[in-house]
C-alpha cells in the first residue's frame, strides 16, 4: 500500500449523481484482487479520507477506475475535481475477493447500488478465467442505472429497481436465479441487503463485501471492526485490512 497523488484522466457523470473517475498512478500496478479499495482525500476541508472500491484496472493505461455516488458533502465536493488535477490517494487497501473459481464453474454476483462497482472488476477477472457469471444488480430507479451494458457483455444480467421503473420491482433477493447451478456467490451492497442475501444463499458458499465507517483505512485504528462468529479466531476483524471481503459465516452482520 502506498500514498500518492494520482492524476485524474477521466471524470464524468454516468447516472444520476453517480460518477466515474479514472486515476493514473502506481497504485494501479499494485492492485492484487477485485474488491480492494482506495482511501481518497477529497480536499483539505474533509478531515477523514473516503473509502471507494476499485471498479476496474487498466494495466495498459496505468489507471484505476472508481464509480461513486454522491452521498454527502465529501462525495459532492469530489464531483468538482477536474481531469488534469490530482487526488491524494492511499491504496490499494484490503484483501478483496478471491478469484479461485475454475473454468466452467458458475458464479453469482449480487450487487446493490453503489456496492455494484467492485463486482465489475471481479466479473472481468472471473470471466477471464472461464467462470460463467450471472449478475443480479439492484438499483433505486431507472435514472440510477449504470454499467448494465458492461455487466451484460460478461454474462447474464438481471436488474431490479425499488420502483419497478426497469427490470423487476423489488430487491435483489427477489430476482435470484435458480441456486442449484451456482458454485459461489459474491455480494456487495448496503448491510441490510447483505443480510438478506446471506440468509437466502445460506446453502451456497460465498463472499460478502462489507462497508463500515473508517478512520485510518490501513488497519491501525480499530474504527472499522466487525464481530466474528464464535468459532472464528480472535473475535473481531477489521473491515479495512482483514476485509472488506469476508466469508458470510465468519462475520456477524
Amino acid at each position: 500500500m502506498i500514498r500518492e497523488w494520482m492524476r485524474i484522466v477521466n471524470h464524468q457523470e454516468i447516472a444520476e449523481k453517480t460518477y466515474l473517475i479514472e486515476l493514473e498512478g502506481e497504485i494501479s500496478t499494485l492492485v492484487k484482487r477485485p474488491g480492494q479499495f482506495v482511501h481518497v482525500q477529497i480536499s483539505e476541508q474533509y478531515f477523514l479520507r473516503r473509502p471507494v472500491s476499485i471498479a476496474d484496472v487498466s494495466p495498459v493505461k496505468g489507471t484505476i477506475t472508481l464509480l461513486y455516488k454522491v452521498m454527502g458533502d465529501g462525495t459532492e465536493a469530489l464531483t468538482y475535481k477536474q481531469s488534469g488535477q490530482s487526488l491524494d490517494i492511499v491504496g490499494p487497501g484490503g484483501n478483496g475477493f478471491p478469484v479461485h473459481q475454475q473454468r466452467g464453474e458458475q458464479a453469482l454476483l449480487v450487487g446493490g447500488g453503489i456496492g455494484i462497482p467492485p463486482l465489475y472488476y471481479l466479473a472481468k477477472q472471473l470471466t477471464a478465467k472461464g467462470v460463467s457469471v450471472k449478475s443480479v444488480l439492484g438499483y433505486r430507479s431507472e435514472s440510477d442505472l449504470f454499467y448494465v451494458d458492461e455487466f451484460q457483455s460478461l454474462g447474464e444480467v438481471q436488474i431490479t429497481t425499488n420502483d419497478g421503473s426497469v427490470g423487476e420491482q423489488g430487491f435483489v433477493t427477489d430476482a435470484l436465479p435458480p441456486l442449484n447451478s451456482i458454485d459461489y456467490y459474491y455480494t456487495c451492497g448496503p448491510t441490510i441487503m447483505l443480510k438478506k442475501v446471506k440468509e437466502e444463499l445460506i446453502n451456497v458458499p460465498g463472499y460478502i463485501s462489507i462497508e463500515e465507517r473508517m478512520g485510518c483505512g490501513i488497519g491501525a485504528c480499530f474504527a472499522c471492526v466487525l464481530e466474528t462468529s464464535e468459532s472464528c479466531g480472535k473475535g473481531y476483524v477489521r473491515v479495512c485490512s482483514d476485509g472488506p471481503v469476508f466469508r458470510p459465516e465468519e462475520v456477524i452482520l
Binding site: M1, R213, A220
Partner: protein, 301 residues
Amino acid sequence: MDLSINIPGLNLKNPVMPASGCFGFGKEFAQFYDLSELGAIIIKAATGEKRFGNPTPRVAETASGMLNAIGLQNPGVDGIIEHELPFLTPYKTPIIANVAGSTLEEYADVAAKISNGMVQALEVNISCPNVKEGGVQFGTDPELAYEVTKKVKQQTDLPVYVKLSPNVTDIVSMAKSVEQAGADGLSMINTLTGMKIDPRSRKPIIANQTGGLSGPAIKPIAIRMIHQVYKEVKLPIIGMGGIETADDIIEYLLAGASAVAVGSANFKNPAVCVDLIHQLPETLDKYGFTSVQEVIGGAHH
C-alpha cells in the same frame, strides 16, 4: 540542527512520536517508512484483559477533526507482550506503553506486566472518554488521579507519564496532583468529549453516542492547557492535539511541551510523522532556532 531531547527515561533523537491509539502497534505504518526514524512510539492502550470495545460506527468526521469511540479495544496486556511488541522492539526507537484500566488494580496489573524490559516508558491513560468504567473518572478527579499515579509508580521502575484529560475545569490542579503522586512527566491532551447527530437518522452517528474529539479543532485548547501547566508544574510535557505541520510542533514546544505526539493526522497521511521529522530542521531554522531544546517554553520568556 540538534533535534534531540532528553526527558525522563527517554533519549529521543527527535521530539516526534505517534500518539496512542492512532498507530496501532506500528506494523501497518512500517510499510510506509522505517519506524526507526521516529523519536519514539506510543502504542495502543493496554488493559488487563482483551477488550472488544464499542459497537460501530466508532468514528465520525467533524469540522477540522473527528470523533472516535473505539473503547479501548486491545488484545490485553499479555497479548500485546506476546504478539505485538516483538515486532516493534527491533526498531531503534523507544517504545512507550499506554496503560489503561477500569480499576486501580487493573492499572497496577497492566503496569507491572508491561514493565518487562520491552518498553522504555509508560503513559498512563486516565483520560479515555469512551469507556463506561474507569478511564475518564480517574482523569477528572484530582484525588483519583493521584491514586492511580501512585499505584502505577509502585509497580514499575520505568518513567511514568500521565495522560491528562482536557474535560476538566482546572487542568493545573490535575497536573499538580499527579506531580505530587510522583509522575515523571505529563501527556497532554487526550480527546474532548463530543457528539455528532445525523439529521437523517436523528441519532448520534457514533454508536456509543459520545466520542472523543481530536484533530486541529482542539489544538487551541491543548496549547492553552500546556501553557497553563508549564507555568505551574515542573514535569516535562509530551504535547498533542491536532498536530499536522512542523509549525504546529513549534507552537507546542513554545507553549511548553518537550516533545510531541501526532494522532489522527496519521489517518490523513500515513507518513506524517516522518514527514514532520524531515521538515523540522528547516522550520526551526526559519524561525531562528538552532535546536529543539531551545524552543521549549519559549512563549513564557
